[in-house]
Symmetry: C2
Subunit: 284 residues, 2 copies
């Protein structure tokens, strides 16, 4: 394992720098995806690529074909050294050009595929959380998109470090729960499972969508609704999900220990199954 493997492809070529004029740097003018790779497979790849393309459509960024992404990922993972769990990160920016904020009429996108180390979470799946002081701005045009404007999350992550928390719940500045710093949220109230609506803020996570679909098919639909912050303390269970970590749970919210874990067990298993399924898209 001492071979040095290529870690990054930019527009299909081994390279680890981008032009300083790239609009991804200048304005955060682009999108990204962070995907778990299991034994050189990316189980949720087709869902990630579909979301990326939809986000590019909203932002008016000309996106590459699915084939180009798949070829890049094959090239990066096919060289070996991708056994076990690793992370593949995609970045697509609008590239360079335009006049100030005004985008060029025909952008030549910058396509980045990176391989990153996956670190097991030493603290396990039971997390200590709080509702954060940091609040999310509302913007209906950007809501749902995993774009490169992530300063709110960076400041929220600083708050986690300062308060010694493992994750934190983020509300918009009207006091409605949106998501966690790097996860979506499900709340269990009695026999009801609710996830916050993401029409004003937040990232529409691939794992969130997957679980919503699977639960609907299984006859136990998850409700999308507005969740006011004062309702959070009434939840019997609070679950966090993303496509890299699957489903985790809030074990402690401030001083309150959450004992119930039946919905967690069910959704956690559902998420684990993803990683054992056949990939939705041919990858090697």
């Amino acid at each position: 394992m001492t071979t040095t493997h290529i870690k990054t492809l930019i527009n299909g070529e081994p390279r680890n720098v981008v032009d300083v004029t790239d609009r991804g740097l200048a304005y955060g003018d682009g999108v990204f995806e962070t995907m778990l790779c299991v034994d050189a497979r990316v189980p949720l790849l087709s869902r990630h690529l579909t979301r990326l393309e939809a986000s590019c459509n909203t932002l008016g960024i000309g996106a590459p074909d699915t084939d180009q992404w798949v070829n890049d990922i094959d090239k990066l993972l096919g060289q070996g050294g991708a056994g076990g769990r690793t992370i593949v990160k995609l970045i697509l920016t609008r590239g360079s050009g335009g006049t100030g904020y005004v985008p060029p009429s025909n952008n030549v996108a910058t396509r980045v595929v990176q391989r990153l180390d996956f670190k097991e979470n030493s603290s396990g799946d039971d997390l200590h959380c709080e509702v954060l002081k940091m609040q999310l701005g509302s913007n209906r045009q950007l809501a749902g998109i995993k774009h490169l404007n992530r300063l709110e999350q960076v400041l929220a992550a600083r708050e986690l470090s300062e308060r010694n928390l493992q994750e934190g719940l983020l509300c918009n500045h009207h006091g409605f729960l949106i998501e966690a710093v790097s996860s979506n949220v499900f709340l269990v109230f009695g026999d009801k499972v609710v996830t916050p609506k993401l029409d004003t803020a937040g990232v529409r996570g691939v794992m969130r969508d997957y679980l919503i679909e699977k639960n609907l098919n299984a006859g136990s639909p998850i409700e999308k609704d507005y969740v006011f912050s004062s309702a959070i303390a009434q939840a019997d269970e609070i679950l966090l999900c993303n496509s890299v970590r699957g489903v985790r749970r809030v074990g402690r919210l401030g001083d309150r220990v959450l004992e119930q874990r039946s919905v967690y067990e069910r959704l956690h298993k559902m998420a684990q199954n993803v990683y054992n399924e056949k990939p939705g898209i041919k990858r090697a």
Copy 2:
């Protein structure tokens, strides 16, 4: 003038690429300044550097000394070819490192100094504007800062192109006027001059602050207040300012032609004087 001059310094060295792992690209985790340079002088330099440092403090980014910026700018402008008007752009990112959104505890910032062409505005100082459909999100922790999360401005600039406008007024999603796409705004109501409060959104422009100060000293204070969108149509004059273009005016708001221009004449002259003043900081 056929000599090729260095256009970009990164951490003091001629270079035009940044590492793909830079948090400026990954998250827009950084700040920038766009400054007008007149005959190899940057008249508002000390104000720009003060704002940049204050922004870095808010974001927790370790910023370089003023001297380092001044040396870089000297190096870039001192090679000649900077006669007349050019633009100097500074970018400071948190650099690479950290775990996901969580910043590294001691960041090694990436310091970019770029020279860009200044293009005279062919349309002059009388602009055709409208209130844009695009709305700004509110975030008290990020309000005022000229950070690298500029997707709202990029989408607003797309709206300008689509609607064939020269500038546009941006409200927050409560309907309060904040700023224009790349300018701050002053509104004249009778003998009162008002500029929107920037405590929830917007960039606290260097030229805006300069004009507020100068007008206070001249005994004609500009009021900072909340301006609801319905009040915009009642304004006798609407002025736009930034440190590259000085003061311009809205000549036409939708179908309405704005005739009055007395406050514009006064503030425009004030801004022009900036470029003839001695620089606030030694630069060569």
